[in-house]
Symmetry: C2
Subunit: 258 residues, 2 copies
């Protein structure tokens, strides 16, 4: 239904007039800024609402909803730990191991099987944030090439996008599983741009993670930061050219470029 | 005072008879296990009690003592983020930036200056855990070569060990500042062993961090894990040969080797 033009125009009310601008008009708004050739979207937290896992994580952690952030940060830390040591494991496998560690640190016993089950049933079933579908639709309509670019495994992201009803918007799904280096390793951004046949400065990352925005900018990419609740830019990294509180505003900024 | 033999013998009561064993006797206990040539000690959390920072961190975070773990995990994550992107910043600088991010995520405004001040005044003034001094003394007495091996900067660790009154026990202080790669990058363990003129399997890391133990083992080192409160091994890594709840027990195990 999202490819239906009438439906799109109705939804685009959300986006305001900017989403319907012609390229000529857009150029007059941002005559100096050129559109990125490919938009790379981070998935977890950026497109999908991780807070929907709060209940599942809390159910494994004796009601401790407050441990969601610590668990996710531990998962991110250990993804880099594994890579730094020259190894690779699927993001979900590291997520389950991290959940076990956070549980044990809070004197909660959590089996490997139960931890894995929680990851498989909840991380892969996250809903899209409410601003995502209309934005992706508007960007596609405006001619942008959209790629999902995630630390999740190939099968993981495929199920995530399917369950969130977002698969149809992406021209390509890229998972770090192929290169076996998690973002923000520089090689991973180089590889992503290479896969799409573009130079680093023709790529733009859209993400709600300070570390991902930092990694993209340090790899010579352009970047747009979605300042979702709980998201912060890394103070020691360069600033992205776009920072907005939601994807609808970022979409407006992008469509306004020539 | 810790080099005073009488004082040592008194303190060694803590360690039990093992700390006073002759090599001949030790050999009969663990005839098959050879002593590591060099003992590398992690510093933060392993030797120094991070919980002493709880009050300072909480004072910056409007009383939120519970955010200490999230802050420290964020600091560790971002140390690897910076390296993965091909950059380096001092651990304390990353710690201050991480503190600002955790504060902002909890709607607390924390200036860069105040964040840096907290790191400088509290991270560098951590006290030693109560089991540390007597253990280091017994290990030195037993002829082990002791090296501090930390993610803290050169100046940072020098002040930390001085403030905790531990400097005298170490034959050498190694900081990742020299190689500009944080643990657990494999290169860092290779570099550490190289600096001491030994092979990886002649080195043993003693640490209270699952990621550090994992990195050492994956780099071909031996390892002893101190299971301090809140410390967990990484379930996806190999098991260390020693795991004990305190450094006194690890010291006994080490002194018992031939």
């Amino acid at each position: 239904m999202h490819h239906n033009r009438r439906d799109f125009v109705k939804k685009a009310g959300l986006l305001g007039a900017a989403s319907l601008m012609t390229p000529a008009f857009s150029m007059s708004l941002n005559p100096q800024i050129e559109r990125p050739k490919v938009l790379f979207f981070d998935v977890n937290e950026t497109l999908l609402d991780l807070r929907a896992m709060k209940r599942e994580v809390a159910s494994a952690l004796q009601g401790r909803e407050d441990l969601l952030s610590l668990w996710f940060t531990t998962m991110l830390q250990y993804s880099l730990v594994v890579n730094a040591a020259g190894h690779y494991e699927h993001f979900g496998t590291i997520g389950a191991a991290s959940l076990q560690m956070v549980a044990a640190n809070n004197n909660i016993i959590l089996s490997e099987a139960r931890a894995k089950q929680i990851i498989l049933t909840s991380l892969r079933a996250l809903p899209a944030h409410p601003d995502v579908k209309a934005s992706l639709e508007a960007l596609k309509e405006a001619g942008f090439v959209l790629v999902s670019f995630t630390n999740s495994s190939k099968q993981g992201v495929s199920e995530q996008l399917k369950n969130a009803e977002l698969s149809e918007y992406f021209d390509r799904q890229l998972s770090v599983e192929e290169i076996q280096k998690f973002k923000p390793f520089k090689q991973t951004y180089d590889w992503g741009a290479g896969k799409m046949g573009i130079k680093p400065n023709q790529a733009m990352l859209i993400a709600a993670h300070g570390w991902d925005i930092a990694g993209a900018l340090w790899a010579g990419w352009r970047a747009a930061f979605i300042k979702r609740p709980g998201a912060q830019r890394f103070p020691l990294a360069p600033q992205p050219e776009i920072e907005q509180t939601d994807l609808i505003k970022i979409t407006k900024d992008l469509i306004a470029m020539r």
